[in-house]
């Protein structure tokens, strides 16, 4: 049975430029202990999807429909009071910018301790001992001294390790990581990814990893969901997705990544045009205006997502690798 089941959610926002359809009919599931990645460019709807799981979308300005089942229960529409018990407990989240996620006027120890008291009911001295242990687990030097420190005294990489310690404090069964290393230097990113992978295996938690970086995805995820313009366009096991992408957008993205090959100046594959902002359901395929394979049908009939093999699906009238 899956741990998380997102069933056909759609999210829209009211903005000054009119209604924006950020996510349309997204379904995905995460099994216990599994790492699932959601990859997409800006405006793909990947972060909105992640935020919607924990009810973190701005109330009053956003509308959401569909179902989000966690351990079988539909948590979409749960009151704030109930969601708060879930957040930081069974479902934890790590964001891109650790500086804005941490409270600047509270010590590191206090911020970890808060989770331990609220979600695990630990007493003050137990919480302190456990906080030190968690800081050790995430590889921070001098954990005893670190719990007295404040966020501004730490480097970006250290802050992200603290965020991970806070996430672990509630013993989550699902960790949602939204661009967890995007703001970090590349050597620090590598160390944080190594840490996340080790912790995921050690604690057996499932992870939903949101990223724009296909390199990070290849390293971390067992299964990948590709989003474009608010829709899931492809889903497949990671090795299969990278070896034989079915959707022209996925193939384009893979060709567009600058790679560390010393063979320089082989021109990168371009996807012409730019990522769309969707105000109304498109007449045809959302990717058709940028797609070299698009024909009349693509411009008039939206392709629906269809499974082609177990765990392998695509939303395209003319997927690659066929005739």
């Amino acid at each position: 049975m899956s741990l998380l089941d997102i069933e056909g959610i759609s999210v829209s926002f009211r903005t000054d430029q009119g209604r924006v359809l950020a996510v349309r009919g997204l379904s995905l599931s995460v099994a216990p202990n599994e790492v699932v990645g959601v990859v997409g460019e800006s405006g793909s709807g990947k972060s909105v999807s992640a935020l919607s799981i924990l009810g973190l979308l701005p109330r009053g300005r956003s509308e959401i429909s569909g179902a989000i089942r966690f351990e079988g229960e539909n948590i979409l529409g749960w009151p704030e009071r109930r969601l708060r018990k879930l957040r930081g407990g069974a479902i934890a989240m790590v964001f891109q910018e650790p500086m804005t996620s941490l409270n600047p006027v509270l010590s590191i120890g206090w911020q970890i301790g808060e989770v331990l008291r609220l979600h695990r009911g630990l007493a003050r001295h137990e919480a302190r001992r456990e906080a030190v242990e968690l800081l050790r687990v995430v590889g921070l030097p001098d954990p005893e001294g670190m719990i007295e420190a404040y966020p501004h005294q730490l480097s970006g990489g250290q802050r992200q390790r603290v965020m991970i310690a806070i996430a672990l404090a509630g013993r989550p069964r699902l960790l949602i990581a939204d661009e967890p290393t995007t703001a970090l230097d590349v050597t620090i990113q590598a160390q944080i990814l190594d840490l996340l992978r080790a912790l995921q295996a050690r604690f057996g938690m499932a992870m939903l990893l949101i990223t724009h970086d296909l390199g990070v995805m290849a390293e971390m995820a067992a299964r990948v969901v590709v989003m474009y313009g608010g829709e899931k366009v492809e889903e497949a096991p990671t090795a299969r997705l990278f070896a034989s992408p079915r959707h022209p957008y996925t193939a384009g993205l893979l060709g567009a990544i600058p790679r560390l090959s010393p063979e320089r100046r082989d021109a990168l594959v371009e996807i012409p045009g730019t990522v769309p902002v969707v105000h109304a359901p498109p007449a045809g395929c959302i990717f058709a205006p940028r797609c070299a394979r698009a024909d009349e049908r693509c411009r008039s009939v939206p392709p629906s997502f269809a499974w082609q093999a177990p765990g392998v699906g695509v939303a395209c009238h003319h997927p690659l690798g066929e005739g």
Partner: protein, 331 residues
């Protein structure tokens, strides 16, 4: 216009490299404001390199490496504490603003954030015409023709000139930032993380555009970046900086296939590989702490550190165009 620029370039000293930077140093002094003791931040220290016509030198490093400060010193936006910047053999680092102004025509910059580098209240036609008027390069019909030529060069339609910056996508804005840099027909463009904020599909477009423009116009690029993979697609040579120091430089292919400095190797090993069949091995690098007061600045993170590294700053070995600063080079 084009022919005149060509002959100008032929006449100007062909012997000296376009740009020479020698022992360039910038020390920022902070903390004196509140009466405490002043703290000296060695943002850039003793950096030397040359850049020829039509060549791309990538300056790579992470945050705090000093790469952006270096770029700004080349452009005369920050005054160096010591050292020299020479353009075709003539020193330009201590010129008063009045004498530096004509050089700005030849030295242009494109920043990371195209949204922040345009005046939101100016139509793009005005933003693009500004450098042409400032340097009295074109007016009237000629100005209009030049604007049309510039937008065409960066692959945009002239209709965009009547729009405001916020009406454009990030990729379109960056194309216009490049067009604006091209307007005064510069010799050198400093590209400061110019593709870093762009989405993957748009990034590829801009990289290809920069490479094509260079081939057509004979531009030199100083390409400042933290992204090693992007660098392989654009740079002839690479200079690696760590905490203000140049640690390694050489031809891109040589440096990337056989890095000599442990930091260069770490940077390359850290790049996530977009291929699940070839996973990246865990990084053999230690946690970044405070940089040491003496010796090699990388010693506190280096997996191959020996006692000498903590005592003595490693001297530069090799030439200005191809060398390394390490007591125990890897290759």
């Amino acid at each position: 216009m084009a022919e005149r620029a060509m002959t100008d370039k032929a006449v100007r000293g062909a012997s000296a490299p376009l740009l020479e930077v020698e022992a360039l140093t910038k020390i920022f002094v902070t903390g004196r404001l509140w009466g405490g003791s002043a703290r000296r931040v060695r943002a850039v220290e003793g950096v030397s390199f040359t850049l020829s016509r039509g060549e791309t030198l990538a300056v790579v490093g992470e945050s705090g490496s000093g790469k952006s400060t270096l770029g700004r010193m080349v452009l005369g936006l920050i005054r160096p504490t010591s050292g020299e910047v020479r353009l075709e053999g003539a020193r330009i680092d201590h010129l008063p603003p009045r004498l530096f102004h004509p050089l700005r025509q030849r030295l242009q910059i494109v920043f990371q954030d195209p949204a922040g580098s345009f005046n939101p209240r100016l139509r793009l036609r005005e933003a693009l015409a500004e450098p042409l008027r400032n340097f009295r390069l074109a007016r009237g019909v000629e100005l209009e023709e030049r604007l049309a030529e510039l937008v065409a060069q960066v692959g945009l339609s002239a209709a965009l000139l009547d729009r405001y910056p916020h009406e454009l996508s990030g990729g379109q804005r960056q194309r216009l930032a490049i067009a604006r840099a091209l307007a005064p027909r510069p010799d050198l463009i400093v590209l400061d993380e110019a593709v870093s904020a762009l989405d993957v599909s748009v990034k590829a477009q801009i990289i290809n555009l920069l490479v094509a423009l260079q081939a057509r116009l004979g531009l030199s690029y100083l390409f400042i970046s933290h992204d090693m993979a992007v660098v392989t697609h654009i740079a002839d040579r690479v200079a690696v900086m760590y905490l203000g120091r140049l640690v390694e430089t050489g031809p891109t292919r040589a440096v990337f296939t056989a890095p000599r400095h442990p930091y260069t190797k770490s940077l390359l090993d850290a790049v996530p590989v977009p291929d699940p069949a070839h996973p990246r091995p865990p990084l053999a690098l230690r946690e970044a702490g405070a940089p040491p007061e003496r010796g090699c600045r990388f010693a506190s993170r280096c997996p191959w550190v020996i006692p000498l590294c903590r005592e003595t700053e490693p001297p530069w070995q090799g030439s200005a165009a191809n060398g390394v600063a390490c007591h125990r080079p890897l290759a």
